[in-house]
């Protein structure tokens, strides 16, 4: 089991256990939509949904929205 710390402007910070150790587990676990988020780690690495994530990683969930 892989455990990661995730954060977003909408829900703050939380820890998640990823059953398959992939970015998709974060998207599904938070009830998000792949087309509406970008996952990025502390080093600026971008994660597509199929990518494996290392245990203990910190992942920022950037939600995609219109305008600005």
């Amino acid at each position: 089991m892989v455990t990661v710390r995730v954060s977003s402007i909408n829900f703050g910070e939380k820890y998640l256990d990823l059953a398959n150790g992939k970015a998709k587990d974060i998207i599904d676990g938070l009830g998000l939509n792949d087309d509406a988020v970008i996952l990025v780690d502390e080093g600026g690495e971008i994660y597509t949904k199929d990518r494996k994530i290392k245990d203990g990683s910190y992942i920022k969930v950037i939600e995609v929205f219109s305008g600005g």
Binding site: I38, I46, T48, F65, S66
Partner: protein
């Protein structure tokens, strides 16, 4: 996922392709330039007003337009300050920083100057969804600002999501005439008093635009408008993203179909069939005697009375 161009680790996979960091940036800029060229959005020597909120979409547009058109065209950045505290004031600071970086002149026009009130106050005064009022005022001021700057075109950072949302919203509201006015060049293109709006990002998704801003170190505030969730658009936007995630290419299909329908109706330019007048108060083109922006301004004045 692997990049379709070099097999490096991909950073994105959308209907436009699967790319690594380097090839994504190239593909993004190429799609923008192809859209501009295919639809004749920008002609040499034209003055281009870049609608610039200081958010990630418009700063990405400023980045690409400044990179490729600064040598051939006069560029002016126009910002409409709605007066939303804690939100627009921050993005205006960001906008100024990036205009200085790219050497592009900027001008700011505000709801407060036009109506006498900020959007924060208007939201409390005026019943109904704030986005409807805000949209009318923004379009009006953007056009007036572009005329003031002597611009030939207004470039907006409307992306594929925005455009597909517009198509669906117009269908759901049974407004076929508005639907025909969408497309890469929108608004009324041949009447005095209208500056055509062009959309170089129309075939790029919101996710691609946001990723482009992140990868280029464009340090925009990644925060939505505090009033955005109130509108019908918010609902349509969420549903559209759900559709895209189960059927990649759904948004592009919606846009392609709209362009086909548009081309098969009349001139295909989206010109309205209704007669146009000029507003009795401000002189702007309108379909009524008084334009909607002047009606809102008058309504706000009435609502302020004790």
């Amino acid at each position: 996922m692997r990049c379709q161009a070099c097999h490096e680790t991909a950073v994105i996979s959308t209907s436009n392709g699967t790319f690594c960091r380097r090839h994504f940036i190239g593909a993004f800029e190429r799609t923008t330039l192809d859209t501009i060229e295919t639809y004749g959005l920008v002609k040499p020597t034209e003055t281009i007003a870049i609608a610039n909120s200081g958010g990630k979409d418009s700063l990405s547009l400023l980045h690409v337009v400044a990179k490729y058109f600064k040598g051939s065209n006069k560029l002016v950045s126009i910002t409409i300050d709605e007066g939303i505290s804690g939100y627009r004031d921050k993005t205006i600071d960001t906008m100024k920083k990036y205009c200085s970086k790219y050497g592009v002149e900027y001008r700011i026009y505000s709801y407060k100057d036009f109506t006498g009130e900020t959007m924060d106050v208007i939201t409390h005064l005026k019943p109904g969804v704030p986005c409807a009022t805000c949209g009318v005022l923004r379009r009006y001021l953007l056009n007036a600002a572009a005329i003031d700057c002597g611009a030939d075109k207004i470039a907006t950072a409307h992306n594929m999501d925005d455009e597909a949302e517009n198509v669906l919203m117009n269908l759901l509201q049974n407004d076929f005439e508005k639907l025909l006015r969408l497309g890469p060049i929108s608004g009324i293109t041949s009447r005095k008093g209208f500056v055509p709006r062009v959309k170089p990002f129309m075939f790029l998704s919101e996710k691609e635009t946001m990723l482009f801003s992140i990868l280029n170190g464009i340090n925009a505030e990644h925060k939505p408008c505090p009033y955005a969730g109130f509108g019908f658009r918010g609902v349509v936007s969420r549903k559209l993203k759900e559709l895209e995630s189960v059927s990649t290419g759904a948004k592009r299909s919606i846009i392609d179909k709209m362009l086909q329908v548009r081309a098969s109706h009349g001139s295909g330019t989206g010109e309205p069939h209704r007669e146009l007048f000029y507003c009795d108060i401000c002189g702007a083109p309108t379909s009524e005697e008084v334009c909607e922006a002047c009606n809102i301004k008058a309504q706000i004045k009435r609502l302020k009375r004790p």
